[in-house]
Subunit: 190 residues, 2 copies
Amino acid sequence: MSRTRGTDRRESIIRAAFEVIAERGYRGTSLAAVAERVGLTQQGLMHYFPSKEDLLTAVLETRDEWDLLNFGRSAAPPAMTPGQLADLVDYNATRPGIVQTYTVLSADSVTEGHPARQYFHDRYRRVRAGIAQLLERNRELLPPGLTPEQLAPLAIAVLDGLQLQWLLDPEEVDMPQSFRDFLTLLGTKP
Amino acid sequence: MSRTRGTDRRESIIRAAFEVIAERGYRGTSLAAVAERVGLTQQGLMHYFPSKEDLLTAVLETRDEWDLLNFGRSAAPPAMTPGQLADLVDYNATRPGIVQTYTVLSADSVTEGHPARQYFHDRYRRVRAGIAQLLERNRELLPPGLTPEQLAPLAIAVLDGLQLQWLLDPEEVDMPQSFRDFLTLLGTKP
C-alpha cells in the first residue's frame, strides 16, 4: 500500500470515528462500529489503530487541527483573544460527543501505562504555555499579584472542570456562561 | 447472614479497596485483587459490589465521610473556610491513588448508563450548593459583579481540573499552590 493511500485510509477512519462518537458517545464507540462504517474488518482497522485509545487520541489530535482551521490560524492559544477562547467553549457546547470523549480519555490517561498519557502530558504543557502567552498580552487587565504562568493552569482547569459538570448536568450548568464568568473574574471580559 | 455482619463485611471490602488503590492505582485495582486481600472469592465479593464501578463509588462515598471526620464536622463545604478547602487540597496531594480514582471515575460517569452517573450528578449539585454557601459567608471579600452561585462551579472546576493536570505532570503542576492562587484570585486569601 502506498504511503498516500495509507494516509487517506487513516483520515477516513478518523472521520468515521467522529461520526460514530457524535451519534453514540464515548461508550458506544467501538473499533467494530468504526470499522463497519468505513468498510473494513476490525482486524483491518487495527492495522492503523491497534486500540480504541489509539484511535480516539488521533481523533482528538485531529479536532485540535480542525479547530485551528475553523477559527483561523490565530486560534492557537498564544495568538487567541479571551473572546475567541469563549467562542471555542460555545462551539464545544454544540458537540457533546467529542467533549465527552475528551473528558473520559484525558482522565483515563492519568493511569499507569495508558497509551494516551504522553499525548495528554505534552498537550497540557503546550496549552499551559499558550494560555500564559495569551494572558501575557492582556497583562494590564489581570488582577495584581498573579502572573500569567500562575493563571494559565487555573484557566485550563476551569475549561476541563466545567466540561465535566456540564456533561453530568446540562440543566444546572451553563458551560459557556460559566466560562465567561471566569473571564470576568480574570478581568479580561470577553 | 445478619444485617450487621453484612455491613461489617462491606466495610472491610471498602477498606481493602483503599489499600489496593493506594498501592496499585485505579488501573491495577481489580475486584479479584480486592477479594483476595479480604479473603473472599471474586464471586463472593460481587455479592456486595457487582462491578468495579460500584465498589469504587462506595470507596469515594467513604472518603467523603472520612474527610468529614478528619477535618471535623465543620468540614462539610457549607461550614468550611477557604483555608480549610486549601488544607483539603494539601491532603489530597498526599494520596494520589484515591485522587486518580476520583478523576477517572467521575469522568467515566458522564457516559450513558454509567452506574456512577447518578452519584456524581447528585454529588456535584450538593457540592456546588455547599461551596456557594461557603462563598456567601465571605461575600465581602469576593470580586464585585459575580455571585457565590456563579463562582461555585468555577471553584469546583478548578479543584477537579488541577487534579487532572497534577496527576499527569506533578513536576510542572503544584496543585496545592495553584489552588491557593485561585483563592487569591477570588479575594479570599487562604
